[in-house]
């Protein structure tokens, strides 16, 4: 039999439809792959037994003609999504062995569509990081390797690595400043952050509420569209959820981009950007032109303020969102001599260095006397960024940029230099600040043979154009490279 783990989600769903294999067989193949991929450290918690039960139930449903959008497909779930009865720890020690009594709306949607959950994927602690090195459960190793261990990007490093290594057919992820797209770029996978409000945030551990948005990491653009269709939908339990219909995005894939105006923002050519990134971008422009799109130079003048604004707003919200981890009701508790000492010890031991750094930054920027200079100013920048895009949409329908300013780097290379690390998000944070959809598509290899991604940014709620442009890029790039399975 062929290696079922090499299938795309679309092909696997088709194979089950035709009765070529069962969900149990498909799931078992992925469980075996996971069992041999311990070196990647992609999963924090395996739920293999549960997955086989779900696969069995899925096969039974299929036999009765009940076939959901993700029927019988083995998927990995980022450990930021609360899963009923299954340990959810957000990559942090502070949550201990926390087992939610509830299921996040996103994974509940996917379960209702027949998803089989293989396990909970590793991530940067509380999704704070760009290399998956801040996880309390150890770094995730990129399946792509060049003589040394490389990071898979972050924060959805486990999701990206697992998909790239064929450990699952697709994975849920979240993106606050680039946490879906940058790891997708680093691992040769597709990752989309939809319009803010498409996916409910209910039951997903919060990092920065106004920026957090769930989305999938997948092997192909079409797979990403199928997954996002399942994950999205209005949820009355999330006040920021958008009450709009979920389109059939899988049908957007492959749509012609003829006549679409693709904007190229001049501000994204940053100083010191490796030439391989610039040439990949130029290549992307040529591909889009070949596909019949019109290339339009645009300006997003406030881009240079986006990263600093992001690193004020996100930590500010995080400092408040993470206040609930106080050792009182669940998770880790380190008793001290009095209440404040217990708080101190619990949070010092429970949170890693990067999380503590962001809590400190967030607390500082919100404190009396600094609020106006930092938080309020950052919000003003945010408004300008939104306006930049509004203006851009006057002349273009979507925007093409590189996803990340570099190829994947070595484990340990940037972990002690937060500013270098934060620069990873330079091309991705703008869409979070503006709430826009953005997708990363693998487009080529670096000089070292490592994957590089291009990003398509779309108008709010116009994932249709984003998917169409992304699949045009995908088709033109013909990216078929896979990491060799060195970890086996």
């Amino acid at each position: 039999m062929t290696d079922l783990t090499k299938l795309t989600l679309e092909a696997a769903l088709g194979g089950m439809d035709k009765g070529e294999f069962s969900s149990v067989e498909l799931t078992q193949a992925h469980i075996d792959a996971c069992a041999g991929a311990g070196k990647l450290n992609a999963f924090i918690t395996d739920t293999h037994e549960l997955a086989l039960e779900q696969a069995k139930a899925s096969d039974a449903r299929r036999a009765k003609g009940e076939v959901g959008l993700l029927e019988g497909a083995p998927i990995g779930v980022k450990d930021l999504f609360c899963t009923e009865g299954v340990k959810t720890c957000a990559g942090s020690k502070i949550l201990g062995d926390f087992k939610p009594t509830y299921e996040s709306s996103v994974t509940a949607n996917m379960k209702a569509d027949g998803m089989v959950m293989l396990g909970k994927l590793n991530l940067d602690e509380f999704a704070m990081g760009s290399s998956n090195e801040t996880s309390a459960y150890g770094p995730v190793i990129n399946p792509w390797r060049k003589g040394e261990d490389l990071v898979p990007g972050g924060s959805s490093g486990g999701s990206a690595a697992a998909v790239a290594a064929d450990l699952c057919l697709g994975a849920t992820a979240t993106d606050t400043g680039g946490s879906i797209r940058q790891p997708a770029s680093f691992t040769g996978t597709v990752g989309i952050k939809p319009t803010y409000g498409r996916c409910s945030r209910w039951g997903t551990v919060a990092f920065a509420s106004s920026l957090d948005q769930a989305g999938p990491i997948a092997k192909t653009v079409k797979d990403a569209a199928i997954l996002l269709e399942s994950m999205s939908g209005y949820d009355a339990k999330d006040s920021t959820s958008l009450n709009v219909e979920v389109p059939k995005w899988s049908e957007s894939c492959g749509k012609s981009v003829k006549g679409k105006r693709i904007g190229i923002p001049k501000e994204y050519s940053i100083e010191g950007m490796p030439s391989e990134i610039q040439s990949l971008w130029d290549q992307g422009i040529a591909w889009m032109k070949d596909a019949g799109a019109e290339i339009v130079p645009i300006t997003l003048p406030h881009t240079k303020y986006a990263l600093p604004a992001y690193y004020v707003v996100a930590p500010a919200e995080a400092s408040s969102n993470l206040a609930r981890y106080d050792g009182m009701r669940y998770g880790l508790r380190v008793d001290g001599k009095d209440l404040n000492d217990t708080y101190d010890r619990t949070r010092t031991e429970g949170f890693g260095k990067e999380v503590r750094r962001r809590i400190m930054i967030g607390t500082y920027v919100l404190s009396a006397g600094y609020y106006d200079a930092y938080y309020l100013r950052a919000q003003k920048v945010r408004t300008r960024i939104v306006e930049d895009f509004e203006n851009a949409w006057q002349t273009c329908d979507a925007i093409l940029t590189p996803t990340a300013p570099s190829a994947p780097f070595a484990v340990g290379r940037k972990v002690n230099d937060p500013v270098q690390m934060y620069l990873n998000d330079i091309f991705t944070v703008t869409t979070n600040l503006a709430g826009l959809p953005g997708i990363s598509v693998p487009a080529g290899l670096s000089d070292d043979g490592l994957p590089l991604g291009l990003q398509i940014i779309g108008k709010a709620l116009d994932e249709d154009t984003v998917f169409a442009a992304a699949s045009a890029l995908e088709k033109a790039a013909g990216f078929t490279a896979k990491p060799n399975r060195w970890w086996k």
């Binding site: 926390f98 919100l366 609020y371």
Partner: protein, 497 residues
Amino acid sequence: MFTAERVADPKDYIKGETGDWEIIIGLEIHAQVASNSKLFSGSSTQYGAEPNSQVSLVDAGMPGMLPVVNEFCVEQAVKTGLGLNSKINLFSRFDRKNYFYVDLPQGYQISQFEHPIVGEGEIEVLPIDADGNTMEPVSVGIERLHLEQDAGKSVHELSPDETYVDLNRCGVALMEIVSKPDMRSPEEASAYVDKIRGIVRALGTCDGDMEKGNLRADVNVSVRKPGGDLGTRCEIKNVNSLRFIRQAINYEARRHIDIIEAGGEIDQETRLFDSVKGETRTMRSKEDAHDYRYFPDPDLLPLKLEQSFVDRIKSELPEMPDAIKARFMSDYNLSEYDARILTADKGKSDFYEVVAKDRDAKIAANWMMGDLFGALNKAGIELEDSPVSADMLGGLIDRIADKTISGKIAKDVFERMFAGEGDADTIIEKQGLKQVTDTGEIEKMVDDAIAANAAQAEKAKENPKLLGFFVGQVMKASQGKANPQAVNEILRAKLGL
């Protein structure tokens, strides 16, 4: 910064060694919104449930939980704002107030900081002096009203070294009503709170129960030389009765004056009122004040109201206490005093209107304020739990009016009604208290009385005062049931007076 232009009435000045002082008072009232569920979760708000039995995942601050605003609570806040003659802000926003405490699971309280749902307004307050007389009305400005979540309850008394937490109250909706510093005496302050209490009760937006803590006040007090520069204020937290508010202000003002006159300075601080000792003491000083790091709650969208929503609520507003009082004075011809007592709250005015309907308004008022309130007060029962309903009291008044019983017998019937022996008719029937109005029967009793006291009857012609003696004899013979008026008339005729 605020200004306080009005200078107190000189009678409200406090004498100090260096001359007169006036008190500047502003109040923050926390009123629990009357609502079945909490401000941002579906949990019940019922009082007195088992600890931690009304706690949702949201209330407990579980990971990934999100607040969703309870529209009914928003409506209640708008209604209250309208009742306070205040501006309704069509745009308002929820902010997070960040601090750590065991009874605050999220690590922040959701409140409204920069953009409250209700803005400025003004209400008129009638202070009452120690003898119960109304004084000159005073205008008190409303600064704002905003919605916020209550915290849970920490219980320190169950164990010497542990604190227990009950989260039932956590997340319950509160309206914080902030006044301008417009009050100048303890009486004005307590009248203001009483006024707010009456308004929210009439609106049904808060039950106003101060004992349960459903309406409580933080009192800001400072002193100054009349009309002079404002002094440093202290905030006295959670004072929960009108009497305590007056006591706390008196104590605090005197404390300030004593410190200033001794050459000291007032520390801006938060204080507690000890109702047993009748004094205030430091809770936390300015140095310990939290930096709450307020910022807009990113989990909630700004609250945008339609004018039509506000208009609809406005059109459905019930009659307000001031209007009811004015109507009682004009329609029922009641004195200001009677009208004030009977409109002190919605329960009283509703009760009175049932009793007074198609009856003598003054008699109805007298029975309610005299006998009924007296009996309730003595028994320590609230009007809503009164064993004598409005219909029962009305029925009793009817029997006096139609002369079935005398006013004197009625007092006895009332006592029996209050003791739970049934309505007036039942008691009159059972106890045989029906007034004798049959003139034949009375005539016979009069004849008997005259026959038995022939000598007195002779003297009565010269000494009409003896009439009283005969009335007494006849009433005694009738066991009090003879109609006194008829007895009088027949005696006069028979005795030739």
